[in-house]
Symmetry: C2
Subunit: 141 residues, 2 copies
DNA sequence: TTATAACCTAAAGTGCACTTTATGTCAAGA
DNA sequence: TCTTGACATAAAGTGCACTTTAGGTTATAA
């Protein structure tokens, strides 16, 4: 299971990224340089997929590309950057907590709206039924 | 407490939106037309602030401007659109649930990363201490 | 051997949600 | 009266994260 390699297409499928996005990440330096075959094609390893998973996680929690790049660069620089890395992750974790809080509140507001609209609908239907009944009365008379 | 009015500046403070953003929302038709004073200045009511709160809620949960506009238009059109509105809200609520799920998973991944880095740091520190001790030994000898 | 599919690069383009700029009106206080 | 500050509009600009395009190389398979 080790030393397995993947084409860019396979990696795109595994990570749910598009092929251009993966290339873009590499040229931007967000994804560390990927090994190449003799003909110049990218040869991805499980390690590369690990980097992409990390990138997806950070992007998906709203971290801008530049900051992710910084983090990845620190990782590549080695031991001396360990404190910076930990600090960035902790700070980012806090923003994710805030996002969760905000999102939870918004979710509650939406649920409230749904219920409000449902009650509105019941009133509308009731009114329509009343009108229909009155029309039937008119027909009989 | 009723019939109170607000300037655009006051509304910006209340909603945490910028003044240009509020104007932008109105010109885009996301915010229904706001009353004007004789001189053409916008005169906001609590109802307008209510619309903006709704817009913030939907934007903050990732709904695109166009769709919010659609929803607001339906609200203005009245009773006949009640089913469409309820459906949109329910569908959107589902996407918010998904966002919460994804975000929660990412949060866990970040926590995992933090712990991983903390352990890495402990190893680095231990190694450095070992080196320091060895150097002290060298000095003594 | 030739065609087709998968890969490559560099550069330009896109979409979204604002933001900024330039210009102008109007009401109130010094 | 004049200037200052808050408001207005229309149009152009910005920032971000990709995506698309154009043009080219290489490996496999009919």
């Amino acid at each position: 299971m080790e030393n397995q390699t993947y084409t860019i297409k396979e990696v795109a499928e595994k990570t749910n990224l598009t092929i251009p996005t993966i290339r873009y990440y590499e040229t931007e330096g967000v994804l560390p340089p990927v090994e190449r075959s003799e003909s110049g094609n990218r040869v991805f390893t499980d390690s590369d997929i690990g980097w992409l998973d990390l990138i997806c996680c950070l992007r998906g929690t709203g971290m801008p590309i530049k900051k992710i790049k910084q983090f990845v660069q620190w990782c590549l620089e080695g031991d001396d950057t360990i404190d910076d890395r930990i600090e960035m992750l902790i700070e980012h974790g806090k923003t994710v907590d805030e996002q969760l809080q905000v999102l939870t509140n918004y979710k509650a507001a939406i649920e409230w709206k749904i219920n409000y609209h449902r009650e509105m609908k019941m009133q509308i239907d009731a009114r329509r039924n009343a009108v229909r009944l009155m029309e039937q009365q008119d027909l009989k008379s």
